[in-house]
Amino acid sequence: MEELTYIVKRILQMIPVLLIITFIIFFGMRLIPGDPALLLVGNRASDEVIAATRARLGLDEPLFTQYLLFLKQCLTFDFGESMTLRAPVTELFAQKAVITVSLTLMTIVFAILISFPLGYAAGVKHDSKIGSFIDSLSLTFVSVPEFLVGLVIMLIFALRLKWFPVGGWGDTLGERLHALILPAFTGALGTAALVLRNIRGNVIQVLDKDYVDFAYSKGLSPWKIRTRYIFKNVLISTVTLLAMRMTYMLAGSIVIESVFALPGIGQMMLNAILARDYSIVQATVYLFSIIVLLMNLLTDIAYSLLDPRVKLN
């Protein structure tokens, strides 16, 4: 069980990193000018109310005690109450996560559907007109910000053609899926463009390998060569990129959810920043960091499963 030991070791290694992250978050938040209690109850509140609020938030404790309190929140995933939304942060997260996670998943699916075939085609036909056309298309989508792509897509498919809602979430599953399509497609284009370029480069490299020629010389069917020889080898480095993009997408959800008015975690985070609702900001940054660390581990595991030359240690 060498692998299991490794995974446990990696998880244990996350603890100091997470500790430092909580430290940075906590003291970063204290740098903010202004009294959070004042912000919560307003300038006109009486001194008693302010003092009571301070006590409730634990702000009258010494700084170190406050940090321990925050650490306890991080460990128990109980981040207290949101100052603006008047609800437990953890509960809010659970509600919003459905939207952001389904958005991320759908985005990944779209990105794969777009980038795999096109990237493969661009690699195989890299010195033809089709190849360079796909190539310049991908260059375009790498170089244009998501919010702009989102607005154009919204203008065409929601405002003009009216095939999709302009924004918002739905009540039924069908409505919700419908509402996710445009935002997911928007996010997918940028990711697909990057992944496509990666696949294209890998395909060109792999096609030049002797093992592909050897496979042909054995008289294998083109299908077998494409799947077992070319695509599987191409996939090894692409999987790493896809995983990296997945963590990026969590953050990118802030932009996309804002464009399409999807009430997910990104939207909540943006509103929290604008309204200075720090308990939500703290919790989001912390949770996102955990997800990123876990994704990095998962990527390494996936990598070792795909490539027998790579061992987990």
């Binding site: 390998k209 069917s221 080898n233 795909l306």
Partner: protein
């Protein structure tokens, strides 16, 4: 004489890009008989590898076979569809490559790569596995049962080369193309692989095309030899004839640049200059700028490939002038010329 297995007639393979067309194989003809080893010899870039790849129509992009015939058992492979060609590859003509590090798929086990090469559809899965085991044994891989489940990176260089040979031989091809099969290996392992190929050829009654720049290897293995230069055959004959009586200055130059014990203490000969750029070929004989026998005529006229004695052809205006020249005797079986 044994029957002709493969005959190449006026083969042309060009590399066509937008800017220019390079003639990598230029009007090459030869034949390979059953059970015979045919050597294609020359410096890198002379077109020997491209010729070899042309035989099973696997020329790397942007190369293209533009003319000639490749007759395998009397049928022109150039007229075959891609699908028909698949029936030839592996089953009739197999191929092994130079670098065993890069010729095996790194992410598939040896077993998978062996089993997928067995093209007999009547075989059951179990029979295929049995056969895979047998193949590893055939090429001399120790404890083959455990080795079957391994990935290529768990093998040493020599073992990988053996595994590659086993895979190429899986469907018992009648002709094996070997493109520099020993170049990437250590000298001791080179020798083992040469012996292995010789044994397999005998046991399986195969013909072999051996592409090499190493005259030592060629002299140990080949029955016939064709020396190539700048996409053309310069000289061809039975191996012992070429070694004893070279009638082309290029062949002679190659031979003199092999070190040997007899010449101990003397400065090693080397041919002046480098092979011509295929984009910018000399007008006459391609070897003329480097040739010590070069005459005015050589710079202007491409010499034809002419018979200098029965079964011995040379492309040189000055072939007669070389009649007094003696080559080297062929080294004994198994002994390396460069030892």
């Amino acid at each position: 004489m044994a029957e002709v297995l493969l005959e190449v007639k006026n083969l042309h393979t060009d590399f066509i890009t937008e800017e220019r067309t390079v003639q990598a194989v230029n009007d090459v003809s030869f034949q390979i008989r059953r059970g015979e080893t045919f050597g294609l010899i020359g410096e890198s870039g002379c077109g020997k590898s491209v010729t070899c790849r042309s035989l099973i129509r696997l020329v790397k992009h942007p190369g293209k076979i533009t003319g000639g015939e490749i007759l395998y058992q009397g049928k022109n492979l150039l007229e075959y569809s891609e699908k028909e060609m698949r029936g030839i590859r592996g089953k009739e003509i197999g191929m092994i490559f130079q670098d065993p590090m890069t010729t095996l798929n790194p992410i598939l086990t040896i077993k998978t790569q062996l089993v997928e090469s067995l093209k007999d559809e009547k075989m059951t899965k179990k029979e295929k596995e049995e056969r895979a085991l047998e193949l590893l044994r055939l090429v001399g891989i120790p404890s083959p049962k455990e080795r079957l489940a391994c990935y290529p990176h768990q093998f040493s260089g020599g073992m990988r080369q053996r595994a590659m040979i086993a895979i190429a031989l899986a469907s018992r091809p009648r002709l094996l193309l070997a493109d520099e099969p020993t170049t990437a290996l250590d000298v001791t392992i080179q020798d083992q692989i040469i012996r292995l190929l010789k044994r397999l050829k005998r046991e399986l009654d195969m013909s072999l095309v051996l592409v090499t720049h190493d005259l030592g290897v060629a002299s140990q293995m080949c029955d016939y030899i064709a020396v190539m230069y700048a996409g053309k055959i310069m000289e061809t004959a039975r191996a012992e004839v070429i070694f004893e009586r070279p009638r082309n200055p290029y062949t002679y130059g190659l031979m003199r640049s092999i070190p040997s014990i007899a010449q101990k203490g003397k400065k090693l000969y080397s041919i002046n200059g480098a092979p011509p750029n295929l984009n910018d070929m000399p007008k006459g004989c391609p070897f003329s700028p480097r040739c010590e026998f070069c005459e005015e005529r050589c710079k202007k006229e491409m010499p034809p490939l002419v018979q200098v004695e029965p079964g011995h052809f040379s492309r040189c205006h000055c072939a007669e002038k070389m009649e007094h020249i003696k080559g080297r005797t062929r080294p004994e079986e198994g002994g390396a010329l460069y030892a």
